[in-house]
Symmetry: C2
Subunit: 398 residues, 2 copies
C-alpha cells in the first residue's frame, strides 16, 4: 500500500510554503483585530442593496444567456462596457480586446502561463505585490528585482537588466503601487512601453487602484503608449465595486490574447456570466463615477489620518501616496517587523511585514505595509497608537 | 524594434492549436443551427427567475460578506451545503474537504498543477472529454489511454498500464461518461480506489452528470471507497443548475488539498462568493431534488427520441446510456466524421467528430458524439433525419 505521504507533487511546488500569506489571513479574521494587513475595501464601500437589485434585474432580463455556457472570450455586454470604461482612462481598445478574467489574479496567471518556462526571467519592481511573486514562482520564473525610487521604476536600471537578462516580462503596478503606494512618474510611462517594443518583452500592467486618487492628476496608463501589443493591461473591479464577485479584465491583443484564451479554456472555460453582467449593468447605469467619488472622499480621510500618526513614529520614513490603499513604512534600522508581528498581534493590531514583498526573502526586515481603507478613523487612531508603542518598546530593547 | 510576431511563448503551448474546439463553438452559435455538438443544458432547464430571487436574497442578507474578499478555501455556507449534498450521493466528507472551484474545469486544472511535471504519465479513458485532454497537454503530461468497454475502464488494462507507466494520475468520468454516455460498472469502482492506494496514484473522479439518471440505480462514487485520500472527486452544478455561474467543488483531503489551495490562491484567490452563495441557498431551500426530477423527465424523452432515430442509421453502432447528456455513435467503417462535418453543417446540423476525444489524434474517424439535452424533440427529429441522409450520401460515395 502506498501511504498518501509518499505522493509526489509537481516540482513547481518545491520551496513554496504559502505560510506567510496564510499566517496573515489567520490573524486578520480574528475578532476585534484592527487589521492594517489586508487590501480590503471598507465594508461601507460595498453596496449590497444596489448589487442585489442589479443581480435580480440582469437575471430577469437576460437570465437564459447568463445561466448558459458562455464564450471563453466573454459576455458581450461586459466586453463593451469595459472597453468604454478603460477608454475614459486613456486606453483605446475594442470590445474584442477585453478578455474577462476571474479577478485580475487570473489575468496574471494566464499571462504567466502563456509566456513563462522554468528559468525564464521576469522583472519585478522591488518591492512588489507578494501574491504575484507567489504566482510567478509557481511557473518557476527567475525573478529579478528592478530598482525603484519615489517615481517608481528607475529606467536606467530597467534597461540595464533588460540587456543583461533578456526577460520575458516586466510586472509593474504603475499607480498607487502595492505595497508602496507610489505612482510611476508620468515621464517614465512612455519609455517603458517603448523599451518593451525595442527589446521584445511583455509588460504586465496591473492597475487596480488607479481610480482611487485623492490628490494630483490622473496619468495615462503604460498601455495607452503601446503600439504593437507588447503591453497587457489588467483592469480590476475588486477595489472599486467588489472583490468578492471575482471579476476583472485583461486588455490584450493578438497574438498574446489567443494564448490567454487557450489557457483560460483549460482553466475555467469562462468567467461567471453573472458577475460580468452585474458589472456591465453597474457601468451602464453610470454608478461608477459617483461611487468612486464617495469612496475616495472617505479613503482620503483615512489615509491622511494614518499619515498623521506616522509623523509621530520614531525615526520612521514612509511614503506619501496620492491614492490607493497602502502606505509603506521603514522603521529604524534594527527593528524586525517579522519578529515584532506577534507582539503587535497580541495587542490587537495586524500589518504585513515588508520582507514578504521582496524577491530576496528575508531582506528589508525593518519595513512594513499598512492598509487604511478597511479601518474607521477611530480604529486607525487606536491601532496606530498601539503600533507606535510596540515600535517604541522594540527600540528600547535594541 | 521587436516585432510582436517574434514573441516567444511558453513551451507548454507547442502543438496546441485549440482549433477543434474553436471550430465547433463557431458552428454552434450560428443562428438556426441544430446543435448536437455541445454539452449545454436545455434553455428550459435554466431557472432564471428562481436564481434572480435567490441572488437578490443572498445579497440582501449576507451582502457585506459576499462582496468582500473571501477565503481561498471557500464561503462557509457553500462548503456546508455541498458537504451535505455529496453525502446524499455516498461521499462522507466534512465541509473542510469541500474546495469550491470556478467550474470543475478549474478543479481539474488545479489538480494537474499540483501533480504534473512535463513528461509525467496521466492515464485517461479512451475516449474521454476533449477539454480535459487539452488541459493535461498544457501541463505537458504524457497521456496514456486505458481500454474501455460497455462497463467503462477495463481493470486488467488499467493495472497493466499502472505497472508499466507508474502514472501520477488516472482521469475518469464514471457516470454517463463524456463522450460515450457509458457508466463505470458497480464492481469496478472499489477496485479502482484500491488500486490507487496500492500503487500510489491519484484518481481524479469527474462526475458532473451523475444525477441525470433516466434508468437504473445510482452507484456509489469511486471516492466513497477512498480510505487514504488518493481519490479527488469533482462535483459540478453546471449540468444541474447552471454552467454560466461557473461554480463547482473538489472533494479533497490533505495533503493534496493544500497544494490545490496554493495553486488557487495564485489562480483566482477564491471563487466568486456570490455564485457560491446562490448555490448554497438553492441547496438549502431544497430546490435541487424537484428540479433534477423535472429535467430528467424531459432529457429522458429527448435521449430516447435520439436513440430511436439512430436505430434507422445504416450499419451504425451506438451506446444506450442510462442518463447524462451524450450518445456515442460509430458509423460504418470508411466514413470520416471530420470530413462529413462541413456537409452536415451546410445542412444545418452540428455534432462533435469522435476523433477529438482520443489521445491519438486522427484515429477513430468514423465515430461521433451526439448531445440531446439542448434540442427539443422536434429539433431532434429534424436534425437526425438530416444527419441520416448525410450519412447515407457519404456511404454512397465510398
Amino acid at each position: 500500500m502506498a501511504s498518501i505521504e509518499s505522493i509526489r507533487f509537481a516540482e513547481r511546488f518545491n520551496g513554496i510554503t504559502g505560510s506567510a500569506i496564510r499566517e496573515i489571513l489567520k490573524y486578520m479574521t480574528r475578532p476585534n483585530m484592527i487589521s492594517f494587513g489586508g487590501g480590503n475595501p471598507a465594508a461601507s464601500a460595498l453596496e449590497e442593496d444596489v448589487i442585489a437589485d442589479i443581480a435580480r434585474d440582469v437575471l430577469r432580463s437576460d437570465g437564459k444567456r447568463i445561466l448558459q455556457y458562455g464564450a471563453t472570450d466573454g459576455y458581450a455586454p461586459y466586453k463593451e462596457a469595459v472597453a468604454g470604461w478603460v477608454k475614459e482612462l486613456g486606453i483605446d481598445c475594442s470590445a474584442q480586446d477585453v478578455l474577462p478574467v476571474t479577478g485580475s489574479t487570473q489575468g496574471i496567471d494566464l499571462l504567466a502561463k502563456a509566456l513563462i518556462d522554468p528559468g525564464d526571467v521576469v522583472l519585478v519592481e522591488s518591492p512588489t505585490f507578494l501574491g504575484t511573486l507567489q504566482a510567478f514562482k509557481l511557473y518557476q520564473a527567475k525573478l529579478v528585482p528592478v530598482a525603484t525610487d519615489e517615481g517608481g521604476i528607475v529606467l536606467s536600471d530597467l534597461e540595464r537588466l533588460v540587456r543583461e537578462h533578456h526577460p520575458k516580462m516586466l510586472y509593474v503596478i504603475p499607480t498607487f503601487q502595492n505595497p508602496t503606494g507610489r505612482t510611476l512618474a508620468a515621464d517614465r510611462r512612455k519609455p517603458i512601453a517603448e523599451m518593451a517594443e525595442k527589446y521584445g518583452f511583455v509588460v504586465m500592467e496591473d492597475d487596480p487602484y488607479r481610480d482611487l486618487r485623492y490628490a494630483g492628476e490622473a496619468l495615462p496608463s503604460i498601455k495607452s503608449y503601446d503600439k504593437a501589443g507588447w503591453v497587457v493591461h489588467m483592469a480590476s473591479f475588486s477595489k472599486l465595486i467588489s472583490p468578492g464577485l471575482r471579476i476583472g479584465a485583461a486588455i490584450v491583443q493578438e497574438p498574446i490574447r489567443q494564448k490567454m484564451i487557450f489557457g483560460k479554456q483549460a482553466n475555467d472555460v469562462h468567467s461567471s456570466n453573472l458577475t460580468q453582467a452585474i458589472v456591465a449593468a453597474y457601468l451602464e447605469r453610470g454608478l461608477m463615477g459617483p461611487h468612486v467619488e464617495a469612496i475616495c472622499k472617505s479613503y482620503a480621510l483615512q489615509m491622511n489620518r494614518m499619515l498623521e500618526h506616522l509623523a509621530s513614529f520614531p525615526d520612521t520614513r514612509y511614503t506619501h501616496p496620492q491614492g490607493g490603499l497602502f502606505i509603506w513604512a521603514e522603521l529604524p534600522e534594527g527593528i524586525d517587523t517579522l519578529e515584532m508581528m506577534p507582539k503587535a498581534i497580541d495587542r490587537g493590531v495586524a500589518y504585513v511585514p515588508g520582507t514578504h514583498f521582496y524577491c530576496e526573502e528575508g531582506t528589508h526586515r525593518n519595513t512594513l505595509r499598512l492598509n487604511f481603507s478597511n479601518s474607521t478613523l477611530e480604529k486607525i487612531d487606536e491601532g496606530m497608537d498601539i503600533l507606535r508603542s510596540v515600535v517604541c518598546e522594540e527600540l528600547k530593547q535594541r
